[in-house]
């Protein structure tokens, strides 16, 4: 009884902590999105379901839904299959140049879709769409799985090997189950990214292939059919919720405490005899899917009318580039600061381990709620801002601060998903031991959980910065004062006539790629030094 009474204020404290990010999300995501969807069910005089029924009866809707699910599933499976192998090579092994490679694979994540569209515009649009989705999201799997794998205690697999298990059996029965939290987590992310992918489908689908997301864009921005858009938004939320529910159910079954070690002691040197297969697969993926398209971009940025030239870069550096870079970096830092602060709070709350089943269910719901922004259209949120944030004290519609806020909403799920695996992997016995030895919960938090969190922060920061640097969708739907970020500048240059503008657009894309890779490498290196608490 006594202990119970003492734990209650703790729970209340965590509810208070959760209230901060929850309020943020409510104001800048839930309210605007719901307000716009609600408009769709109101025909000016009364509430109606006609729009919903019309959309439900349209064959086009169902085709869009199918297309969304199919392409996203196939792309997710491909990403997982190649990404887990890539995680092994880039995070479990040790070889020179590894850091640079880790940075390089993140570049696609931020490339403007028009650039990717040019690279993947082969003869078959559907194949191009799926490949481009893999191209974008490969790094999400590699990095999320890799971050965990790099610190798995190797003694378990050594024990399995000593007991006579061959390499495959060890991988299948020991390593993969240990990695499952990260695999499931990244699978959910990639699926949601693919299912809500807008630019790729617009660019490569040529108006012939639709996803729910492109349909929402069309119905909202082009014909202002809000009831159709509302129905589609609801369909989208259902898909997202199902996806999150499935992954969290799976996650709960597989959740296990892991012994984590500092990275340096658990990685092993590259050994050709043992590692040739995963290395070859990863090299093939990196070369075929990442290097070739990016090299193509680089080459195109250096060629004009058949000659080699640096004109694109020269005009760019003489003009708009530095200003846009500065704007992009400032916005990215602001967005990352918001996303990280809230992300840490959410991760800490969600990683609590309540003893009661209702408590666990409540936390799973909270976790899912913070993933929702991934699956809801930027158009819906952007247009929702117009009808919600339009009165003092929250007349932010045309304020510049809305840009980093909107980007933070987009980056938050990724930050939470990156931080959670490290927190969940803390052995509960360690916390129990701390409590037994008289440490208060606050002290356990400070000495065990926060250091663990610190290890994930570099990666989360990198993802948050990269998301913001490459963000175009939400930004372009905001009525912001004219201060273009790099993606906005690239988009504008591409849509202007004349060889010089095209040259400059390509050069700016290369610049954005280099900038992102640099930021990613630096962010990952800048994490706090490993704290070895074992």
């Amino acid at each position: 009884m006594d202990r119970r009474a003492r734990r209650l204020p703790g729970a209340l404290l965590w509810v208070a902590v959760a209230a901060v990010p929850a309020t943020f999300l409510a104001i800048f995501f839930v309210w605007p999105a719901c307000a716009l969807v609600a408009r769709g069910f109101h025909n000016g005089t009364s509430w109606t379901l006609d729009g919903l029924l019309a959309v439900g009866r349209s064959e086009r809707t169902w085709r869009a839904l199918w297309f969304t699910l199919q392409t996203a599933s196939v792309a997710t499976l491909l990403c997982l299959a190649t990404g887990v192998v890539g995680a092994y090579v880039l995070y479990r092994l040790r070889f020179p140049g590894q850091q640079v490679l880790r940075g390089l694979i993140t570049v696609p994540f931020v490339l403007p879709t028009v650039v990717v569209g040019i690279a993947f515009s082969g003869p078959e649009p559907v194949v191009g769409i799926v490949l481009a989705m893999v191209f974008f999201n490969y790094s999400v799997v590699v990095r999320t799985v890799g971050a965990l794998w790099a610190r798995l205690d190797p003694r378990q697999t050594q024990a399995a090997a000593a007991l006579g298990a061959d390499g495959w059996r060890t991988a299948w029965t020991v390593t993969l189950p240990a990695l499952r939290p990260a695999i499931i987590s990244s699978a959910a992310l990639v699926f949601l990214f693919c299912a809500s992918g807008f630019g790729i489908v617009m660019t490569l689908g040529r108006g012939a292939h639709h996803t729910i997301e492109t349909e929402i864009w069309f119905q909202t921005t082009q014909v202002l059919n809000l009831s159709a858009a509302a129905a589609l938004s609801i369909a989208q939320v259902i898909v997202v919720t199902l996806c999150l529910w499935l992954t969290s159910a799976w996650q709960r079954r597989s959740q296990a405490a892991l012994r984590l070690l500092p990275e340096t002691t658990s990685t092993s040197r590259l050994d050709w005899g043992r590692d040739w297969a995963p290395v070859l697969v990863t090299v093939a993926i990196i070369v075929g899917l990442l290097v070739v398209p990016m090299a193509g971009l680089l080459v195109r940025s250096l060629r004009d009318a058949g000659d080699w030239t640096l004109d694109g870069y020269r005009s760019l550096f003489a003009g708009a580039l530095l200003e846009a870079t500065w704007t992009s970096l400032r916005t990215a830092v602001a967005a990352a600061a918001i996303a990280l602060t809230l992300g840490v709070l959410v991760a800490l709350v969600v990683s609590r381990r309540p003893a009661s089943a209702p408590g666990r269910r409540a936390l799973a719901t909270v976790e899912g709620a913070f993933m929702l922004p991934l699956g809801v259209s930027a158009v819906t949120v952007g247009f929702g801002y117009l009808i919600t944030l339009n009165r003092p004290p929250l007349d932010l519609r045309s304020s510049i601060v809305l840009v980093p806020i909107a980007q933070a909403v987009v980056a938050l799920p990724l930050v939470v998903r990156t931080l959670l695996p490290t927190l969940r992997a803390i052995d509960p016995r360690q916390l129990q031991a701390a409590a037994m030895l008289g440490a208060s919960p606050a002290r356990a938090l400070a000495t065990i959980e926060l250091p663990a969190l610190g290890r994930g922060i570099g990666l989360a920061l990198g993802f948050a910065l990269a998301t913001s640097l490459g963000e175009f969708g939400a930004t372009s739907f905001l009525a912001r004062p004219d201060r273009p970020t790099l993606p906005v500048l690239i988009f504008r240059l591409f849509s202007r006539p004349g060889g010089e503008n095209h040259q400059m657009a390509l050069a700016a894309s290369v610049w954005l790629a280099v900038l992102t890779a640099t930021v990613m490498v630096v962010a990952e290196r800048a994490r706090p030094r490993e704290v070895d608490s074992w």
């Binding site: 339009n390 003092p392 004290p393 007349d395 932010l396 045309s398 060889g499």
Partner: protein, 345 residues
Amino acid sequence: MRIRALAVGVAAVALVACSGGQAAEPSSSDSAGGGEITVISHDSFNIPDELKQQFEQETGLKVTYTPLQDTGAMVNQLVLSKDAPLGDVVFGIDNTFASRAEQQGIVDAYVSPALDERAKSLATEQMTPIDFGDVCVNADKVWFESNNLPIPQTLDDLASAQYKDLLVAPSPATSSPGLAFLFTTVGQKGDGWLDYMRDLKANGALFVSGWTEAYNVEFSAGEGQGKRPLVLSYATSPAWTIGDDGNSTTVNLPDTCFRQVEYAAVLHGAKNPEGARKFVDFLLSDAVQASIPENMYMYPVIEATELPEEWVKFAPLSEAPTHVDAATIDEHREQWIQEWAEAIG
């Protein structure tokens, strides 16, 4: 020249934006004359920095520029926010969205007295025309010469076997020039437009997602040096393909053009309607009109404005552009796009 202008323009934009932060505060001025205004536009709006500063100095108005995305999205955002308008004046509503804007009541009538006779003929009841241009099929002259084929003239030519597999166009479902081409077929073929589109598709026409992909990837005279010598682009595009001999390597086909007119208008519920009207007049001033070709790639609406030399030589407007009634467009836009997407896309 163009690059420097662009550099200056962007620097200006940044400058203006820096001062724009405060304008978003709820305390913005509502007095007539002086004070502040907010200009809503689509993403392609661009006037030189010096002119923007000059306007601020002459009127004492502080101007915040707020570019939104494409014209369609912009109009719809204005419709959604009409109870609490985003700004005072809007630039870039075109003739295909004019009737929606006026019917939804997002603008207040203002036709500037600065218009000349030709410009007056382009004005709507409530909005002032600023610039205009044609969306036309362009041909790669060099390709047609070296293949000994006459350059096609009409829509029917484009669908004839002689020109099989030669045309690339942005899709009407995803791009505004693509949609303008759809209106051209509606204007010329009436109810038979969709059959014509089917013929075009059967004749090997390639539809891609946007103008960049069509012109700079697939078009043989574009940056990507693609395979197709016919592309849907703008009447002015030939002015950007001047070869070493000083002649343009491309030409537009005047019988395939659709006329786009862009308007400026005072937003309904503007906090500073007086300032908004001044801005509309400013867009018709000689200096701004003269800057339009190099900065927005459209023809200035005031006839006396001097045009760049290459435009006069190589980028003539169509004498008889295709016309479709604005109200008809607004009524059928969605249906036409859906029909196109079902049949062709």
